[in-house]
């Protein structure tokens, strides 16, 4: 690993990756470093197509890191990562993709993550996306996440894409059994002429299944974002989807919310708000001595915190 690798890794992962119980570092389409533990096993799929991660039942606290870095221009990396989370176990998973592209060819990473949570399993999944480089080659990321939740399981997914990704289509699909809970927090900032689309498809199939999706985004300069959510309530269940977007410069945001109650006991809520930073917020901070630019920066930083 060289300096660029290390820098990318720091952007998307914890500096103390060695504290993780298990990890797998993938660079330019190949696993380059791996560690497993008695409770967490990582097994490669054929042809470097990805990995299977097995977490044993009743694992008290497991920490897994699976960063991906891409430094080769013109590479399209497609990877399948499957997480098998045993009953009653509790894990934190850090994933992310850092792309460094100094050339003119496009670099693309399509991560397909599938989560299979057994009964009462608990997962905190943190995903960070980052792109850098001086070339005009595009940095493209298309994560697809599928989540299958057995009764009583619980998953929190935090995704962040703050800088440098030219094009992204993020799809998340989840199917929830009874008493399963899914919380998704998404943060996106786009600039230049970047383009980001996120799609959430959540099906609530069991009694007391619930989901809370919070998307906060900032679209600056000439960038474009699209937020699509589609929640289906098939049971006595609860869903709350919030989409909040701040527009700057010529940024554009489109929100397409859809909630569909197929059961009379389903309780589904959607809130969406898109707009510039409220003038009164700027004025309040200016009345405390900040310049307009400083105020704007602080409001955006807080919003995406």
């Amino acid at each position: 690993m060289n300096d660029i690798d290390q820098k990318l890794l720091n952007k998307i992962s914890d500096k103390n990756i060695r504290k993780a119980h298990a990890y797998n570092i993938r660079k330019n389409g190949k696993s380059i470093k791996r560690q497993i533990s008695p409770y967490i096993d990582i097994i490669s799929k054929e042809d470097n197509k990805g990995i299977d991660i097995y977490v044993k039942e009743n694992t008290l606290i497991g920490i897994v890191h699976i960063p991906v870095i891409i430094t080769e221009s013109g590479l399209t990396d497609v990877v399948y990562n499957d997480f098998h989370i045993g009953k009653n176990s509790n894990v934190v998973i850090l994933a992310g993709c850092g792309v460094h592209n100094d050339e003119h060819q496009d670099s693309e990473h399509d991560g397909i993550h599938r989560f299979y949570l057994e009964e009462d399993a608990k997962v905190k999944y943190i995903e960070k996306h980052y792109g850098e480089g001086i070339g005009n080659g595009k940095k493209i990321l298309n994560p697809l996440t599928e989540i299958y939740m057995q009764p009583g399981s619980n998953m929190t997914m935090d995704t962040t894409q703050i800088k440098g990704v030219d094009q992204t289509t993020r799809k998340t699909k989840a199917i929830l059994d009874g008493n399963a809970t899914l919380i998704i927090n998404e943060k996106i900032l786009t600039s230049d002429s970047q383009n980001a689309t996120t799609v959430f498809d959540v099906e609530l199939n069991g009694t007391n299944a619930s989901t809370h999706v919070v998307s906060r985004s900032v679209a600056t300069e000439n960038s474009y974002q699209e937020f699509v959510s589609n929640v289906i309530g098939n049971a006595n269940c609860y869903a709350h989807v919030e989409c909040d977007a701040i527009l700057k410069d010529k940024g554009k945001v489109k929100a397409i919310p859809q909630i569909y109650a197929k059961n009379p006991d389903a309780n589904l809520i959607h809130e969406a708000a898109i707009g510039k930073i409220a003038g009164e917020q700027l004025i309040k901070l200016m009345s405390l001595g900040l310049s307009e630019k400083e105020a704007e920066k602080l409001i955006i930083k807080g919003f995406l915190k």
Binding site: M286, S287, L288, S291, G302, F303
Partner: protein, 238 residues
């Protein structure tokens, strides 16, 4: 000294402020009162630079600050507690207090500021300034951000609005302290008799004009009398 010279502000063919002239002296405590819609908040916004007057000047210690922006005036020592405090998704009470004092204060200092406005500080310091705070809580945080700046001119727009009775007692103490200790100018927009009673000077605004100005005793007589006989709805109530 803050001089308000011949300020006019007109919108939709309505004279919201009509030739306002006032001189406010250091260390004094002023209360502006008057019916709803008489132009009190507009005047406060013109003093702090949020609105630009159509005509007239604001002088602060002899310097014409009429063309200065809100933040430039803040740096000169003006501070303003909004009638309707602003909410921020993602900023905490602690964040806002740090900006207000313009120093990296620790949580203990921040708690001390909060307890001045009667908030049990530990419960609030890390709260986000979002919809989860009640109107009264927000209002007290707003007042705290102004006091924390130790301003040369402190303006409070209806600080009592939305505050419950118990906290109101606490608030009266906050303003009594300001009256005693502040070396600057304090200007409070209020309908509350108990706040009016703290004032050195009371200014009565009506239809965008200064209808009357004077010391507390003479002004209270006029205002309370008017209220009794004419029921103008000045909302002076206890």
């Amino acid at each position: 000294m803050l001089e308000i010279k011949d300020i006019c502000f007109e919108r939709d063919n309505k004279k919201i402020l009509n030739h306002i002239n006032l001189v406010l002296d250091e260390t004094k405590f002023y209360v502006i009162t008057g019916p709803n819609g008489s132009g009190k908040s507009t005047l406060a916004k013109i003093i702090t630079g949020i609105l630009k007057p159509d005509q007239g000047q604001i002088l602060f210690n002899g310097e014409d600050i009429t063309s200065l922006s809100v933040d430039q005036r803040a740096k000169k020592g003006l501070a303003f507690a909004f009638q309707q405090p602003v909410r921020f998704k993602g900023l905490t009470v602690y964040d806002l207090l740090k900006i207000a004092v313009n120093k990296n204060i620790d949580k203990k200092d921040a708690c001390n500021i909060l307890s001045k406005v009667g908030l049990c500080a530990n419960e609030y310091i890390d709260r986000e300034i979002n919809a989860s705070l009640s109107g009264g809580e927000l209002k007290r945080i707003e007042i705290a951000t102004v006091i924390a700046r130790n301003p040369k001119v402190a303006i409070f727009d209806e600080p009592e609005a939305g505050i419950d009775l118990w906290s109101f007692q606490n608030l009266i103490e906050v303003f009594k302290d300001l009256e005693k200790e502040s070396q600057g100018i304090t200007l409070v927009i209020s309908h509350q008799e108990r706040i009016l009673r703290i004032a050195d000077q009371i200014i009565l605004l009506e239809k965008g004009q200064v209808k009357n100005i004077g010391n507390k005793n003479s002004m209270l007589k006029i205002i309370l009398n008017e209220e009794k006989c004419c029921q103008k709805g000045n909302k002076i109530n206890e």
